[in-house]
């Protein structure tokens, strides 16, 4: 990561719940089973000017979304992970997130589920707006639009996995759920990202 790139991210405003760092830590330990990895990531973050100790993070406290972004980037860089691994991190997060457990109501009724998504976003982040653009029950499709959340493309990967699992938690076990980012601020120069979630049952 270039210094100016890091500075650019750090300049951006908005907070996220500390729970996100817990989900990051959980996945890193799952995959590497190494405290050394965690220490290296923390060292990398320190190098980037972020003094973050994962285990001291309060899950319900607010931390800059920029830190959250850099946490993912540090993990990717230190562990040499590709984008696919970041998607998997996103997939893992709802399973272990305390926010999901406390606040997210995983209604099997996709309508009810969709209705609480915008509110649920605000429990996670103080910036950006997540909107339900379309719910097509017949075609089993949900379109979400995330506005004003252009921190770094790595978050797009992460959220893709996150939305996929969050939806999957509401679907029957044999339902196949997929999520694709169909419009991206960083690719399409739109002021928002659009995610298309599909399921089979």
């Amino acid at each position: 990561m270039e210094k100016n790139e890091i500075e650019e991210i750090l300049k951006k405003q908005g907070d996220a719940r500390g729970a996100v760092f817990h989900t990051d830590l959980n996945y890193v330990l799952q995959k590497t089973a190494s405290e050394d990895s965690v220490a290296k990531i923390e060292e990398k973050l320190k190098e980037w000017g972020v003094n973050l100790v994962y285990r001291k993070v309060e899950p319900m406290s607010w931390y800059p979304v920029a830190w959250r972004t850099l946490s993912l980037l540090a993990i990717q860089e230190v562990l040499g992970w590709d984008d696919e691994e970041i998607i998997k991190m996103g997939r893992n997060a709802p399973r272990v997130s305390v926010i999901v457990k406390l606040f997210f109501k995983l209604f099997p009724d996709i309508g009810k589920f969709a209705r609480q998504i915008p509110k649920y976003w605000t429990k996670h982040y103080t910036c950006g707006t997540l909107k339900v653009v379309e719910l097509d029950k017949d075609n089993k499709q949900l379109i979400l639009r995330l506005e004003n959340f252009a921190f770094h493309p790595i978050l797009c990967k992460y959220l893709k996995g996150y939305f996929e699992t969050a939806t999957k938690l509401t679907r029957p076990k044999d339902s196949i759920v997929t999520c694709e980012e169909i419009q991206c601020t960083f690719k399409d120069s739109t002021p928002y990202e659009v995610y298309q979630i599909k399921w089979t049952k």
């Binding site: 893992n92 099997p108 076990k173």
Partner: protein, 526 residues
């Protein structure tokens, strides 16, 4: 405080509270000993306690997000579960067959409840699981034990009934045995004869009659050995008598004093052919002995009194017959000869009676001499030659094949015994027949025998042949003059020498009489 600052402060406080609460909840999930999980409304596992993970063998990250079917081994356990749980709003308890990682089935007791939000919408389920493997195992064992117990109870009931039946039988037997015992006790108690029972060489019973015989109490005798009783003056003579005789006794006389004589017999008590004790029977024969003695004394007196006049008659008749008193006519002589013969028979009878009285009084003196039995037999046989010849009977003395060993005998008495037997043989044999007198022997005894071919002895009278005054019915028909004392005297003489007397006979074909005497082992010492 500005509004914005107030809300900021308030939010911070709430965040801290939530963090504290989250930490508290996390600690609970870790420490609570119950396997608990929270699922989504479609039963996807969202949260699990440490105990849950331990029970099913999964790591938290591994199981979170999995469908609940992962831990249910049977689909039917999940059937209609959501309908049962929601909107019931109550804890539902049910049993399932749980499935641990690796497929191991675990019997489980499950409690579950549905959670809903403020709007009444179902948001999750909470499940708790209790492994009942041990309980089921114990229950299984318990059921087996109960079944086993029931089987045993049935068996015991059967045994109890059988035992009751046996007890009833035993009780009946006991009553019968008691009756029998009472009866036996009454018999023993009132038995005129004395009875003693010996078990393990100790007196275990003495009846009142026996107590009276020895003038002893039950306590003085019961529980003591014969040897111990030898030290008790009252019963000393009896104890010594038993000790001396040792083996079984049959009608042995025990004179306790001059006028009190007991006849003692013993009978072994057997169990499974093994001797367990002895019954001693004491019969008071004092009266019989007294009567017998009086009778003997009377006969002795009468015989003595008769012998003198009979002798006088004998000599008077002899003088008349010999013509010392002048000549007599033939018919007078014939008459006197008959009278003389009758007198002779009378004298012989009197002599026999005197012999018997001596025998019975124990005064029949025994003057032992060591001699050859064959010599005595020859002497007696020779003395009968004339009589045999007169009856045209061939009297043969058959010599022994080998030299007989000497015997120690009272020669005079043995002669008498031989005479009585030979006399009978000649008397009851037909003219022209033969009487064979013989002697034989072995290492232990010398045997004398007299064989005739006379009338023989009827089978039904054989046991009485040696009885006093007994004569065979066929003998009486032939000769009316026998006294019936000869064989009785012979038997007493032989037995006084520790010998035996017996006979073999076939009616109408004659008889052979034997007696045996023990060989002298004193090498001639008297």
């Amino acid at each position: 405080m500005p509004k914005e600052k107030f809300f900021e402060k308030r939010e911070k406080e709430l965040t801290e509270d939530i963090s504290t609460l989250e930490g508290y909840i996390n600690d609970l999930w870790e420490i609570i000993p119950v396997a608990i999980c929270i699922t989504t409304p479609i039963f996807t596992l969202l949260e699990t306690s440490r105990s849950f993970n331990n029970l099913f063998g999964y790591e938290k990250d591994e199981i979170t997000g999995s469908p609940i079917e992962t831990i249910f081994s049977k689909e039917e356990d999940l059937k209609n579960l959501s309908e049962k749980l929601f909107p019931r709003k109550k804890i539902l308890n049910f049993e399932i067959s749980g499935k641990a990682k690796g497929g191991k089935e675990i019997p489980m007791l499950v409690s579950a409840i549905a959670r809903e939000d403020q709007e009444g919408e179902l948001v999750s389920y909470i499940f708790s699981f209790v492994d009942v493997t041990l309980i089921r195992r114990v229950e299984g064992t318990l059921e087996e034990k109960v079944a086993e117990l029931q089987r045993y109870t049935v068996q015991l009931e059967g045994s109890r009934r059988a035992l009751l039946n046996i007890l009833e039988d035993v009780e009946s037997e006991r009553v019968a045995a008691e009756k029998e015992r009472d009866k036996t006790a009454a018999i023993i108690k009132n038995f005129a004869d004395g009875l003693l029972l010996m078990e393990n060489n100790k007196i275990s019973l003495i009846n009142p009659a026996a107590q009276a015989f020895f003038n002893v109490s039950e306590a003085e005798v019961v529980g003591r050995t014969i040897a111990e009783l030898e030290g008790t003056a009252k019963i000393q003579s009896f104890a010594k008598f038993l000790n001396k005789t040792g083996a079984d006794i049959f009608r042995e006389e025990l004179p306790l004093n001059e006028n009190f004589i007991l006849e003692v017999s013993t009978v072994a008590t057997l169990k499974d052919a093994k001797e367990t004790g002895k019954i001693i029977i004491l019969h008071d024969v004092s009266r019989e002995k007294m009567v017998e003695k009086m009778k003997t004394e009377f006969v002795s007196l009468a015989a003595h009194q008769l012998r003198t006049p009979l002798s006088a008659i004998k000599w008077a008749l002899k003088m008349l017959l010999d013509g010392d008193m002048g000549s007599i006519k033939q018919d007078q002589k014939n008459f006197l000869e008959k009278t003389y013969q009758s007198n002779e028979r009378m004298i012989a009878l009197v002599n026999d009676l005197l012999d018997i009285t001596r025998i019975e009084e124990g005064k029949y003196l025994y003057k032992p001499t060591v001699t050859q039995l064959e010599l005595v037999a020859k002497f007696v046989a020779d003395s009968y030659k004339d009589e045999a010849k007169a009856k045209n009977i061939k009297l043969t003395l058959r010599k022994s094949d080998s030299l007989l060993r000497p015997v120690k005998i009272d020669v005079e008495k043995i002669r008498l015994a031989m005479q009585n037997i030979i006399d009978n043989a000649i008397r009851y044999s037909a003219e022209g027949s033969e009487v064979i007198v013989a002697c034989s022997g072995n290492e232990k005894e010398a045997i004398f025998s007299v064989q005739d071919s006379g009338i023989g002895i009827p089978k039904d009278q054989r046991t009485r042949m040696f009885s006093k005054f007994f004569r065979g019915s066929n003998a009486v028909r032939i000769d009316t003059e026998g006294s019936g004392l000869g064989l009785y005297i012979a038997k007493n003489i032989v037995e006084a020498h520790n010998g035996r007397i017996w006979f073999e006979s076939e009616p109408g074909k004659g008889a052979t009489f034997y007696f045996s005497l023990p060989i002298d082992s004193s090498n001639g010492k008297i």
